[in-house]
């Protein structure tokens, strides 16, 4: 009897696990097929001259362009790595200044009423203005250059960081605050030891959003006024009618956007070790 039911269970177990595995494999195959199909269609549309190469180049050509661009300065006057470094520099300077200003500001606004009252009206005024709209003011004070573009990135990342930090610190669990109060902690101590750690997950959400916004903004800023950078490079690609350069630029921008958010993800894993992974909610 027990042997019988044990046998039944083993069968059921194998069946279920096999089903899950098969399903996963099926989905995986679909995914690989779909990407391959996309690349093939792209490739053959170009090689069979269904589309003029003025408008589209094949994926092979684009990858070639990416590789040769490291050693070829034409047509835009910069190597690919120079453009990448230029864009990354602008992004990271703007982003870091945005975090260094935004996180403390959000924390203080969230915790101390007086900061909230003094700064929030101004913040609410600034909040709906897209980063690019700051260009005239930034040009006025900083001229044209890395500093100006970083300042625009700053505006692009700052708002999201402040908002998320603010919400994060406000969501501090009241029970924890009460416990600390009962133990005789001062308001600043509670803020420092409970408020800030509680806000951490939201701060990282803010940083991730901000990083996305920073890459989006840098491309626009470089297209508008720059003589280097990935945004500048794709703009030049259009000026000289080189589709492969535009496509190469788009791919590189995508890759570096991913790398940047991955870096923040890593930082999050290090800082928020105490938080279980794959947590719910």
């Amino acid at each position: 009897m027990t042997n019988d039911s044990e046998l039944l269970r083993q069968q059921a177990r194998q069946q279920e696990l096999k089903y899950i595995k098969n399903n996963k494999r099926k989905m995986m195959i679909f995914s690989i097929l779909s990407i391959t199909a996309l690349l093939l269609i792209w490739h053959f549309v170009v090689t069979f001259r269904l589309v003029n190469t003025r408008f589209l180049e094949s994926p092979v050509t684009v990858i070639n362009t990416i590789i040769t661009k490291f050693t070829d300065i034409n047509p835009d006057g910069g190597y690919l790595h120079q453009h990448i470094i230029e864009s990354a520099k602008v992004v990271w300077v703007g982003f870091l200044v945005g975090s260094l200003v935004g996180i403390p500001l959000g924390l203080f606004m969230g915790w101390y009423r007086i900061f909230d009252h003094l700064i929030r009206p101004l913040f609410e005024m600034v909040r709906p203005i897209p980063a690019l709209a700051w260009i005239p003011i930034v040009l006025l004070f900083l001229g044209i250059g890395v500093a100006a573009r970083s300042a625009i990135i700053f505006f692009g990342s700052f708002v999201g960081i402040v908002l998320n930090t603010y919400v994060g610190v406000r969501q501090t669990n009241q029970v924890l605050i009460n416990v600390a109060k009962t133990c005789g902690a001062s308001n600043f101590e509670i803020f420092y030891k409970i408020g800030i750690p509680s806000a951490m997950p939201m701060i990282f959400t803010g940083l991730k959003t901000a990083m996305g916004a920073a890459w989006a903004t840098v491309v626009a800023a470089e297209m508008l006024s720059a003589s280097k950078g990935l945004g500048y490079m794709i703009q030049m690609g259009r000026m000289y009618g080189e589709v492969s350069l535009i496509l190469a630029g788009i791919i590189v921008i995508g890759i570096f956007g991913l790398i940047s958010s991955w870096m923040i993800g890593c930082l999050e894993d290090i800082v928020l070790k105490w938080r279980p992974k794959n947590h719910e909610n």
Binding site: S5, L8, R9, A12, R13, E16, L17
Partner: protein, 254 residues
Amino acid sequence: MEEKLILQAKNISKTFFSKKGDTEAIENVSLNVRENEFLVLLGPGQCGKTVFLNILSGLISATSGEVILDGKVIKDVDTRIGFVFQKTGLFEWKTAMENVELGLKYKKMPKKQRAENAQKYIDLVGLHGFENAYPKQLSGGMKQRVGIARAYTANPEILLMDEPFGALDAQTRYSMQEEILKIWSQEKRTIIFVTNNIEEAVYLGDRIIQFTEQPARVKKEYDLSFLPRPRNYVDEEFLRIRTEISDNEDLTLE
């Protein structure tokens, strides 16, 4: 007392498989449910009663064993079996009325007829005047009343109730227990009621089936049909049965 069997569970076992290891939730449970009885499944928290109820309803499938309704094995959810969920499971975007109409809506009953049917049960659970309220505007007890009305309106043969009063405060819980008996006596249906509360079980059940700690097995069956209704919590016989069950209960740290 020879009564018609409406639902049978035969040798139900359920094991959850995962990479970390198997969890055996239910081990070889068999039971018979008689028509129109109030059957209580009693067991310590997390013992697998909810899983068992989900298997009866067809929401999840058993690893082995079968559920037989009116003489036929059921494989999937069946609208002849209604469900009252522990967390109410009301749709927050629907009014009390629309929530109650749910089962009829999915049966494609015309709107007017639907409203008439639903109104009857809304009145029965004492929610007259709250037809257009959204769940957010209702108290915990009222929400569960909507849940009960919803299950009845779909007109099932059997009602499964999964710790429906578990989240309510003691006061509301007592009044809901009386309420459910009142409804049951007016609208005779088979009820299978899951709880971890012994007093509640003794107060409500015609029959109590006691489950063991996980994995759930049938530990003992108590026939309480001799105990007259309405029952009294401090009645001598009531207390005796309560103690008997309680002594038999597996100790569990909830």
